[in-house]
Amino acid sequence: MTHMTTTLALVGYYEAWWVQILKAIVIFAVGLQLVPVVLIAERKIMGRMQGRYGPNRVGPYGALQPLADILKLLTKEQFRPTTSVGFLFAVAPMVSILTAVAAFAIIPFGNVQHIFGERVGLYGIDVSIGPLYLFAFGAIAFYGIMLGGWSSGSKYSFLGAMRGAAQLISYEVSQGLALVGVIMTAQTLSLTGIVNAQKGMWYFIPQLAGFLIFLTASFAETNRAPFDLTEADAELVGGYNTEYGGGRFASYYFAEYLNVLVVSGVVTTVFFGGWLLPFGIHPPGWVDPIVVLFKMSLFTFFFIWVRATLPRLRYDQLMSFGWKVLLPLATLNTLVTAILVVVTH
C-alpha cells in the first residue's frame, strides 16, 4: 500500500490504511447522499422555472420523492430484450456508475487536516496526474454508454450510443485543452496543487476563456441538456437507456447526476479556488468542505438552470460547434496561455 501511494499518488506523507478506507467510505457515502439531493433539487427548481411546484406530495415539500423513485426502480423486475447481449447489458450500467464514483474520488474537499493525530487530506486521493485521471475515467465512462446502447439490441439504443460515442470523443478534446491552460499556469497536475496555486487569484479570471470552454464541454461530457442527444427523448425514445429499467436504469441515472456533481467539483477546484475563500478569509479547516459543497451547488444549479432554458441542439450543430468553435477556441486559449506563461516567467 505504501508502494502504491508513492507511485500513484505523491501525497508527500503517509496516510494510515484505516484512514484511507475510512475516507473511501465517507466519500462514497457523501457522493451517494448528494445524488438524491440533486435529483429533488433539479425537479423542484425546474418546476419553479416552468411555473409549477415540482414534486410536493412525498414527504414534506416532496423531499422524499427521490427516495420513492429509487425504491420504485430497485424493486422492479430485471429484464432484458431477447436481442440483447446479456453480459454486456448487465455490466454497462456498472461501468457507468463505477467511473462516476471513481472520478468523484479526486475532488478535494479541503486541505490536509489533523484529525485524531493523523494527517488526513479531505479528498479520496490526490493523484499527481489529476486531470488525466479524470479524463481517463471519462473515457471509460463512455464505454458504459456505448456498451449499454449497443448490447441492448435495439435501434434507438444503438443510435443513442453512436451519438454518445461521437459526442464524448468530440468534446473530450476541447475539455482537455481547456484545462491545459490552467495546468500550465499552476505548473502542477495535482488538484490540491492547483487549488493552492489559486491563493492569489482564482483561475476563472485569467483563464476565463478556458473556464467557459470547459463548462460548455462539460455539458456535453455529462450528456446534459442542451447536449443530451444520447437520450434525446423526442427522437430516440430514451437513447442508450431505452431498454433499461429497474436497478440498471437507476445506475445510469445515478451515474449521470454523479457526473454532474463531479464536473461541478472539478470546475470549483480548477477555476474557483476549491476550498479557498475570497478577501483573504482563512476559516478553520472544518469549513473547507462546506465551502467546496457550496461552490459545487452553485454549478449544479447552473446545470439545472441551463437544462430549463436551452433547447436540444441538432446533431450536426452539436458536431460543428464542438469541432469548429470549441476546439479552435480551446487551442487558441492554450497557445495564448503558453506564450503568456513563457513571457511572464
Binding site: 416552468q50 409549477r52 411546484y53
Partner: protein, 188 residues
C-alpha cells in the same frame, strides 16, 4: 401561328398595396458576431427562466383546490322536488329518455294513487335511472323536461371502481348533492 400577334397581357409590376408585412429575417449564423449573438441570447434565455422563479406558480393543487365551475356548467344530473309540498316534479313522461342521444336514461312510469302520491301529476317515475358511464352530459334531458324536474348539477367528480356503481337511481339523483364543486360567481 407565327404571324399572330403576341398577346399583350399588359404586364406591369404587381403592387402589393400599402399594407406590406415586414418580414424579419434572423441574421445569418456563424462567424464571431454569430457566436457573440448566441452568447447574448443564451444569457437572455437564462435571465428569463431565472425570472420565472420569482413569478411563482400557476398550479392549482387539484384535490385540495378546485377550479370553480360556471353556473351553467353541465355536471351530474339532479332530480327536483316541489319545495312546498315535497312532491317530485318528475311525472314519468320519458321525454328526457326520448331526447337522450346516448340512450342512458331509463324511466318506468306508474300511476299515482290517493294513498301513494309521489308526484304532482297523474303519474310518477317508479324507476328513474341514469347510466352515467354512457351519459355525454349534453343537457338535452334538461331541455326536454316540461317540468324542470331534471337539471344538470355541478358535480364532475364521478369516477368509481365499478360500472354498475355509475347507474344512478332516482333516490341518488333526488338526494341533496354533496356539492363538492365550488361555483364561480357572476363576473368572476
Amino acid at each position: 401561328m407565327s404571324d399572330t400577334p403576341a398577346v399583350s397581357l399588359n404586364v406591369t409590376a404587381w403592387s402589393p398595396g400599402e399594407d406590406v408585412i415586414e418580414v424579419q429575417r434572423p441574421p445569418a449564423a456563424g462567424a464571431a458576431r454569430g457566436a457573440w449573438r448566441t452568447f447574448v441570447e443564451t444569457a437572455r434565455g437564462l435571465k428569463t427562466t431565472f425570472g420565472r422563479i420569482a413569478e411563482g406558480t400557476n398550479t392549482i393543487q387539484y384535490p385540495e383546490e378546485k377550479v370553480p365551475v360556471y353556473p351553467r356548467f353541465r355536471g351530474r344530473h339532479k332530480l327536483h322536488r316541489f319545495e312546498d309540498t315535497g312532491l317530485e316534479k318528475c311525472v314519468g313522461c320519458s321525454l328526457c329518455a326520448a331526447a337522450c342521444p346516448a340512450d342512458c336514461i331509463r324511466v318506468v312510469a306508474a300511476e299515482n294513487t290517493p294513498d301513494n302520491r309521489v308526484s304532482a301529476g297523474e303519474r310518477y317515475a317508479a324507476v328513474y335511472e341514469i347510466n352515467l358511464s354512457r351519459c355525454i352530459f349534453c343537457g338535452y334531458c334538461e331541455v326536454a323536461c316540461p317540468f324542470d324536474a331534471i337539471t344538470m348539477g355541478h358535480d364532475y367528480e364521478l369516477s368509481d371502481y365499478d360500472r354498475s356503481d355509475l347507474i344512478f337511481t332516482k333516490e341518488m339523483l333526488l338526494a341533496e348533492p354533496l356539492e363538492r364543486t365550488p361555483l364561480r360567481n357572476e363576473g368572476e
